[in-house]
């Protein structure tokens, strides 16, 4: 609980700092994209996961100012890492916030970035997309089972102590070797099928151009598309690409770029192609 209060206080301090930042001069930049995502949409209660804020700017920028993270009061903030890299192709700023939370649905408001658009000289507030996460609660065993488990543990410990004592007696002065403690299982990255299903669910939940673009981005990420790569690059490079994905990718491209009259048909086509690919 103390951690949640700490997070809320951090967010309030962050909001107060925003006011100060606005009073200062804003950066002149050209924002190409600004997104908020999570490394999983199926987090488990208490298990850490990551929120990722990505800001792409044109040109070389060495520092990012006036970027406000969303209010994370309902989550426990465990850590925060920022990286910034720039090349001739532009600047990429990433902020990874490690969080965990209780079970239930968590709605995260957009992150914001105040800057002056270098193209028209106007001060703007850029926002990411909002995010909704479903954190699965951990199952609690029934009380009778818990009592039984406790009795078994106590009995087991007593038996183990007795056994140890007997072994010690029998084999003195031999040293009893301790087994290494098992390491906690690392967080499993989502599989291709899970990402495909995620794209499918995104398109089903939001059958609009925006939803189609999000599904397209999810599938492009899944096949390892790099920034600046077009559909032809992805298909050419991934020679081992599943034939069903070779059908799904152009279908998503159609949904992303066709005219409004054809959009419903294109989204339906992309949905079918994704369904086929996720089988």
């Amino acid at each position: 609980m103390r951690e949640y209060c700490r997070a809320a206080v951090l967010a309030l301090v962050s909001a107060a700092l925003t006011q100060t930042a606005q009073a200062q001069s804003l950066q002149h930049v050209i924002v190409e994209s600004f997104t908020l995502s999570a490394d999983t949409l199926r987090a488990r209660a208490g298990a850490p996961f990551h929120l990722l804020v990505t800001l792409r700017l044109r040109g070389r920028v060495t520092d990012i100012e006036n970027l406000q993270l969303p209010l994370l009061a309902s989550l426990q903030v465990l850590g925060d890492t920022r990286t910034i890299g720039s090349s001739a192709r532009g600047t990429l700023y990433r902020e990874v916030v490690t969080v965990s939370g209780p079970g239930g649905t968590v709605a995260i408001s957009p992150a914001t970035f105040d800057a002056i658009d270098a193209r028209d000289g106007k001060a703007k507030e850029y926002s990411t997309n909002p995010l909704e996460l479903h954190i699965q609660p951990t199952a609690t065993p029934p009380r009778s089972l818990a009592l039984l488990a406790r009795a078994l543990i106590v009995g087991g410990v007593a038996t183990a102590l007795l056994g140890l004592f007997l072994i010690w007696r029998a084999s003195r002065p031999r040293v009893v070797r301790r087994e290494p403690e098992p390491k906690p299982e690392p967080e499993r990255p989502p599989t291709a099928q899970e990402l495909l299903r995620e794209a499918l669910e995104t398109l089903a939940a939001d059958p609009t151009r925006r939803g189609a673009l999000r599904a397209r981005n999810a599938v492009r990420r899944m096949v390892g598309a790099r920034d600046g790569e077009t559909l032809a690059d992805v298909i050419d490079r991934a020679a081992q690409l599943d034939r069903r994905l070779v059908i799904a990718l152009p279908a998503l491209e159609r949904a992303a770029f066709t005219d409004d009259e054809d959009l419903a048909g294109a989204i339906s086509g992309a949905h079918e192609a994704l369904k086929e690919a996720s089988r």
Partner: protein, 308 residues
Amino acid sequence: MNAKRPGDVIVALHETIVGQRGVVEALLLGLLGGGHVLLEGPPGLAKTLACRALAAALEGEFRRVQFTPDLLPSDIVGTRVFDQREMRFTTMLGPIFANVVLADEINRAPAKVQSALLEAMQERQVTIGPQSFPLPDPFIVMATMNPFDTDGTYQLPLAQMDRFLLRAAVGYPDRKEELTILERFAMSETELVRAVASMPDVLAWRAQAHGVHVEERLKRYIVELVAVTREPHEFIEHGASPRATLAIANLARAKALLAEREYAIPDDVRAVAPLALRHRIDFSYRIATEGVSADRVLESLIAAVPPP
């Protein structure tokens, strides 16, 4: 969709032209985009044959004009002559009155001849004496330039180059293609392709290409591609004009139509951008002195703009 497809013309052209896929596609893109094409390459690379074959595939009228230093504007557009039997002036229309006109080695003629041709290309009509004559529709000029043999040539100014919808570089065939050329043409006369479409088909395709959808984010991508050529660059004096923006959009639509799509995608734009931009950018002299390839510079500029 029209029953005859633009792709049929490409297939037909490849029955005569060996290799040169980029050039054949560029000719079709120019035809569908309603613009004129500049072909740059050494002699003997089937530039003339490609233009003749295109005219034959479309049942169109083809004329070739060899540009020379002593050529006059009237040699292209036509002139008025006095008919002594009729005792009146009659108009002799020049070779420009054709559907497909090949202006061979356009940079060998002086500026006044070049501008006479380029004005006709722009206005799509010619005025001889007191009378104006509309050029046939469709009307496409394919001009060639030899980049190696520059003695006795007149460089086309940037403003005139801008009137060409696209510029395509014609390269040498590879060994396999050259072997095919040897087998196909060494012993016999070159046979032109059969007609696979007609001029009304071309007009219908152009209307279809005009209706191809270009999404808002794709339009912004096009604008960014042109804008990046105007940013300060060590090898660029002047960037491309807004005509380049229109040209890229037109060519992307044509490219989408060739792929039988009714919407353009980022691949279309990225593929046609070098064709529309290369001749519209004023590269600095340092390109020549430092041995830098203009194509490479353009490639890096295009790569610097992330597609949507």
